[in-house]
């Protein structure tokens, strides 16, 4: 290991600020409870405990209603700067990112703060919050909507629930197999060395913005 490498691996940069970490974990907790309570609700009589079932349905309902709250709060106000900036980052893709995705990671890529897979994960989860809240509301407050919508909403809620389970399991697998990234979702910071390897374009951007003070 050269002297420079030793030095840069010790330098840490901010990946997720406190607002983002808070929003992530609040969102993760809500998703966790929703997915956990979804199982007995979906499998109806399989879990036959009567009183518990009603309680489970209420928990599922209110966690669902609360689902967009952490994200909305984290996007608002002066504290939401970095969150808004990262949303924009997730939104805008370069040609090389599109190519990287099309070739399933084989095309060369100077990665942004998030790679295209991570970006898709964020977009998907964002869309799911809106869709599941919408379809869930139609299922619960069906009296206020046309009756056929209840059937359609049930179909959509189910189909996307399967997709959510797949994506979230994938997300967790990626997190546990990429310990540095996972740690940064707890502590907020990541080593410059990691950034140079996995998010070179972002590292450049960070360096341009805050010239080294040492």
């Amino acid at each position: 290991m050269t002297v420079t490498e030793a030095r840069t691996s010790a330098v840490r940069i901010l990946r997720f600020d406190r607002v983002q970490r808070g929003a992530h974990w609040a969102n993760a907790a809500l998703f966790g409870v929703l997915m956990f309570t979804a199982i007995p609700l979906y499998f109806g009589s399989f879990f036959g405990i009567v009183f518990a079932r009603h309680t489970i349905a209420e928990i599922h309902l209110w966690c669902g209603v609360a689902l967009p709250v952490p994200i909305i709060i984290s996007l608002m106000g002066p504290w939401g700067r970095q969150m808004r900036r990262d949303v924009r980052r997730v939104n805008y893709w370069t040609r090389s990112e599109l190519r990287w995705l099309r070739t399933v990671g084989r095309a060369p890529l100077e990665a942004d703060k998030f790679n295209p897979g991570q970006k898709l994960n964020v977009i998907f989860i964002g869309a799911m919050i809106v869709i599941m809240l919408g379809t869930g509301s139609i299922m619960w407050w069906f009296r206020f909507f046309p009756v056929e919508w209840r059937t359609g909403a049930t179909l959509v809620h189910d189909a996307f629930a399967y997709a959510i389970f797949a994506v979230v399991v994938g997300h967790i697998v990626m997190a546990v197999t990429h310990r540095d990234s996972l740690k940064s979702m707890f502590t907020g910071s990541i080593s410059e060395k990691w950034a140079a390897r996995h998010a070179a374009r972002w590292l450049k951007e960070v360096a341009e913005e805050s010239p080294s003070t040492d």
């Binding site: 609700l41 009589s45 805008y92 893709w93 869309a127 049930t154 951007e205």
Partner: protein
């Protein structure tokens, strides 16, 4: 998605594409289409295949719906079925009374109007027609109104529909006593119609001179809930659909 131009430094000089917004809107659009047309798509597939998309994966499990949010707990001992209205002998039956009547059992699918279906459910009970014969229906009677122990759900059947051989007052389901979640101790099972017609926690049958639309019909479902969507062989009056 929020944008805040002042906060943002361009990420790259090459013109970026707003992929995020497109994928987001695409998914949301797919969801909206599913809500609007999911019911039609399911019906079309049902019609084409002769069976539904709605079989729940991973086993035959019901979704339990309840109007009130809870379930009325009625013990087998305290259960009563009150039959009243245009009948010769208004009668209140106990569960033992019902079980002493001639049994009818069969295996039939339970098809919910929201698209899911549980195949091969074993049912056992007494034919509604037998109960009607026991109490004696008076001339001028046209329909039945059903009440539930949940004090919320109501249902209706025309007299002709009620006399169909696969319309039963069920006390067994899935090979055991009907559980509270499934509407036990006693529920209605109307095999040729969607599940909402099979009222749970049956507490009363009133024989009446007009069809009184039940809870689900007031909320938009057809009074005649035939599985095939037809107006029905026994009650072709289109005003009932």
């Amino acid at each position: 998605m929020s944008t805040d131009a002042k906060d943002v430094t361009p990420v790259t000089r090459a013109k970026p594409v707003a992929v995020g917004r497109r994928v987001f809107l695409g998914l949301a659009g797919l969801g909206a289409l599913g809500i609007a047309f999911g019911s039609k798509v399911q019906n079309a597939v049902d019609g084409a295949l002769g069976q539904g998309l709605g079989f729940l994966p991973f086993g035959d499990h019901f979704r339990i719906y309840s109007i009130t949010g809870g379930f009325p707990e009625v013990s087998r001992e305290r259960y009563r079925l009150k039959v009243s209205g245009l009948v010769d002998r208004p009668t209140t039956f106990t569960l033992a009374d019902l079980e002493a009547m001639p049994k009818t059992s069969f295996v039939k699918n339970f098809h919910c109007v929201t698209g899911w279906e549980v195949p091969n459910v074993a049912w056992e009970g007494v034919k509604l027609s037998h109960i009607l014969d026991t109490v004696g229906v008076q001339p001028g009677a046209v329909a039945l109104s059903f009440d539930s122990y949940d004090n919320a759900d109501t249902e209706s059947l025309s007299l002709d529909q009620a006399r169909l051989p696969d319309v039963i007052v069920a006390y067994k389901m899935l090979g055991a006593n009907v559980t509270t979640a499934h509407g036990g101790p006693v529920r209605l099972y109307v095999a040729p119609m969607f599940g909402y017609k099979s009222l749970k926690w049956l507490s009363g049958i009133r024989v009446v001179d007009t069809v009184e639309p039940g809870f689900w019909e007031v909320n938009g479902y057809p009074v005649n809930g035939w599985l095939d969507g037809a107006t029905g062989p026994t009650d072709p009056d289109p005003s009932f659909t």
